[in-house]
């Protein structure tokens, strides 16, 4: 039975269970709904939930488990072949899956009958050509063990699919039947449904947390692998970054960190004063009308994709800086791509980030503070400088630290605006590069995933992760510690 049919049957039966459960509950109290413990809908929902949740649970589990099981059974057939031809078992399995899929396609398009597909042998005619006629391209002629393994793969999969449908429907019916039986006027259906909702919300929260955990774990394992083939002291303290895929590369993180911090520093030097002053204007001086237009307009900046900022850096800011600081002007700059270019553009990107957060924080300062200050004869700017800003300072610091972690993690602007040379130099008009940009360049192209040159990307990513995590935790700590001060 096709997969989607299973889904449709589950939905249909649950809907039927809902109607029946609701009807039974109402009937059990002789049609007087006030005598029910819960509203009639809860009884219907209880039945539907108790059918759908176990059925879907089993379905998901089966969908994950079946391919693993089939793979395990089939791989025992081809493992001898892999050993004899000295090939990687995983690669042979890729062949097997491709042939099996090809046979499926051939049957579906009608170039092969179902019995032909199960019985065809490598000796009977040209399997590769026949599959090719069905639109399935194979790299080489199919060998006998691979073909047999593919046929076994298909047989196991189709048995598994049938079993899956049967098992899921059985669980569904059991669940529906159990819930229907316990339905009567006394049953506390509302409490059960509420618990079901709670479990749903908890599940969603768990998925978010577990995904984060998974990402961190994958980083950690690859990082450990990197450090087992490359000395950690060299990674952290070497001042040269010279990856060469032929071997003998030097993978020091310091030049990349220097580039990252230098660019972030310039970006913050641009974004913090401008963003903060914009926030003060918007929250303290602007009339509601101006604020209603200016705030969304400023936040549009935050919606521009960073690649567009990158283009802006490459095509507009870089050449403009060259006019002033390049060979025609002061002569400090060799090319349009430089730390200054990337830093300026990144700063522009961060302005709405700083201004929007700071604006919210400044607005949260109670009006009574301002009244108190005005009541003492302070002017508006004295009030802002000496009362409002100090009161909002912890929140503003938090906003700046969050902006900093954005700057450190930014990639596209750097790739397009800062150049690709890893070097430690105090001159902001020279090209430099950052950790993120190098992660991209180490993992794109034909990298061998077991070489230190590719694995270093994970160590770089881990360093970056720890750095931004530290900044975020620190920001949250500052914001929390001082938040309650004026309440």
């Amino acid at each position: 039975m096709p997969f989607y049919w299973t889904l449709a049957i589950i939905a249909l039966l649950c809907a039927a269970g809902y109607v029946l459960g609701r009807r039974k509950a109402v009937a059990s109290v002789g049609g007087d709904k006030r005598r029910l413990h819960s509203l009639p809908n809860f009884y219907g929902m209880n039945v539907a939930l108790k059918g759908a949740v176990p059925a879907f649970g089993l379905l998901v589990f089966w969908l994950i488990a079946q391919p693993l099981f089939v793979e395990w059974r089939v791989s025992s057939i081809v493992s001898d072949l892999a050993v004899s031809e000295a090939r990687d078992l995983g690669l042979v399995m890729v062949d097997v899956r491709r042939v099996a899929d090809g046979l499926d396609t051939a049957v579906a398009t009608g170039t092969m009958t179902a019995s032909e597909a199960t019985d065809i042998a490598a000796g009977d005619g040209n399997v590769r050509e026949r599959l090719g006629a069905a639109g399935v391209a194979l790299g080489s002629e199919v060998s006998e063990p691979v073909l047999r393994a593919a046929q076994r793969y298909r047989a196991l999969s189709s048995t598994g699919d049938t079993l899956r449908s049967v098992a899921v429907l059985a669980v569904l019916l059991l669940g529906l039947g159990w819930a229907y039986r316990e339905t009567d006027g006394e049953f506390r259906a509302r409490n059960v449904v509420e618990q079901g909702v709670l479990a749903l919300l908890l599940g969603a929260a768990c998925i978010a947390i577990l995904t984060t955990l998974g990402i961190v774990l994958s980083l950690i394992f690859n990082t450990i692998e990197f450090f087992s083939i490359y000395p950690a002291s060299e990674f952290f303290f070497s001042t040269t970054w010279f990856p060469s895929f032929g071997g003998g590369s030097s993978l020091g993180i310091l030049p990349l960190l220097w580039g990252t911090l230098y660019i972030s520093l310039i970006a913050l030097a641009v974004a913090v004063p401008i963003g903060l002053m914009a926030a003060i204007y918007l929250s303290e001086y602007a009339s509601p009308r101006v604020r209603g237009i200016a705030k969304p307009a400023l936040e549009i900046l935050a919606g521009i994709p960073t690649i567009v900022y990158g283009l802006f850096a490459l095509l507009t800011v870089g050449p403009a800086l060259m006019v002033v600081f390049g060979d025609g002007g002061l002569g400090w700059m060799q090319a349009g791509t430089a730390v200054m270019t990337a830093g300026l553009v990144m700063g522009i990107m961060l302005i709405p980030f700083v201004s929007s957060l700071s604006d919210d924080i400044i607005n949260a300062v109670p009006q009574s503070m301002r009244d108190g200050s005005y009541g003492l004869g302070a002017t508006q700017s004295e009030t802002v400088r000496q009362v409002v800003l100090p009161a909002a300072l912890p929140g503003i610091v938090g906003a700046i630290l969050l902006a900093a972690s954005r700057a450190i993690g930014e990639t596209m602007i750097v790739v397009l605006g800062a150049g690709a040379a890893a070097r430690i130099s105090p001159n902001p008009f020279e090209a430099m590069t950052t950790v993120t940009a190098k992660i991209v360049s180490q993992l794109t192209g034909d990298a061998d995933f077991s070489s230190p040159e590719a694995l270093v990307a994970f160590a770089l990513g881990m360093t970056l992760f720890v750095l931004t995590l530290g900044l975020n935790v620190f920001a949250l700590y500052i914001v929390r510690k001082y938040r309650e001060q004026y309440e």
Binding site: D371, G375, L376, G377
Partner: protein, 265 residues
């Protein structure tokens, strides 16, 4: 709590400090104050009483032009302090507010140290010549606020860490530190317990020696205890204004009588 007759005999000056004529205030389309005329005396405590929403706080805020900070508020009419029109275009509301201090309903110390809270006004108005001078001003203000003994050992602790009553006295000290001529108090005791209220009332009686004090209050007992003059507001109108004893013992208007005896309000 205090014997009114005794304190009244201590009032020597009888000159008018604030004179308001035909004052109207609109909040958007709401007519909050209607043609109020009142003359407030120097070195006197004047109480504004009346039910909630009657406009007494709004009128108080006209006296130091705090209504300027509210966009929708529109004030018309003539208010003179020492004969000078405060709504005149040449008057800087900032300077006016330095002369007319204000204490708010909820204690609102700045998130700064106790010392900095009090030094704030003198600093922005340049009242102190040097650090020692500023120290003196702060100490004098805190003494006048009757809080010096409680905070003298922790002047650099945050003002927000004090108790509610202490915070309110700190705010009074802060207002006094700028050497105002008039002190406006908007329900200064509504957030305080009876003991703190007693301390603040004692303080108000003290302040009367140097300032003209205007206090808005919901407590008629408080008005009777601390004030020499009382104004009764109702629905934006000034119903009756006169000596406190007179208002409380022999009100002329039936509305005043109803309010004071608790029939309305």
């Amino acid at each position: 709590m205090y014997d009114n007759r005794a304190s009244e005999s201590a009032v020597t000056a009888d000159d008018i400090k604030i004179e308001a004529k035909r004052v109207n205030v609109h909040y958007g389309t709401t007519h909050a104050i209607k043609d109020v005329d009142v003359s407030i005396l120097d070195k006197t405590v004047t109480a504004f009483i009346g039910p909630s929403g009657c406009g007494k706080s709004t009128f108080l805020r006209c006296i130091n032009r705090m209504n300027d900070t509210i966009d929708v508020a529109r004030v018309t009419g003539d208010i003179r302090i020492d004969g000078e029109d405060i709504n005149d275009a040449r008057v800087d509301p900032v300077q006016l507010r330095a002369k007319v201090g204000m204490v708010f309903q909820k204690p609102n110390p700045f998130p700064k140290s106790i010392y900095d809270n009090v030094a704030y006004g003198p600093k922005i108005h340049g009242l102190a010549k040097n650090k020692g001078d500023l120290d003196d001003i702060v100490e004098r203000a805190l003494r006048r606020g009757a809080i010096w003994d409680e905070v003298k050992d922790r002047l650099h602790a945050p003002g927000t860490g004090l108790s509610g009553g202490q915070q309110q006295r700190l705010c009074i000290a802060r207002a006094v530190a700028t050497e105002p001529e008039v002190l406006l108090m908007d329900e200064p005791c509504s957030a305080l317990d009876p003991i703190a209220t007693g301390q603040v009332e004692e303080l108000i009686d003290e302040l009367r020696r140097d300032y003209s004090v205007v206090i808005v209050t919901h407590s008629m007992q408080q008005a009777a205890r601390v004030s020499q003059k009382t104004a009764f507001f109702h629905l934006g109108n000034l119903i009756e204004y006169g000596d406190t004893d007179e208002i409380f013992t022999n009100p002329k208007d039936p509305k005043t009588e109803s309010y004071i005896t608790g029939r309305i309000g």
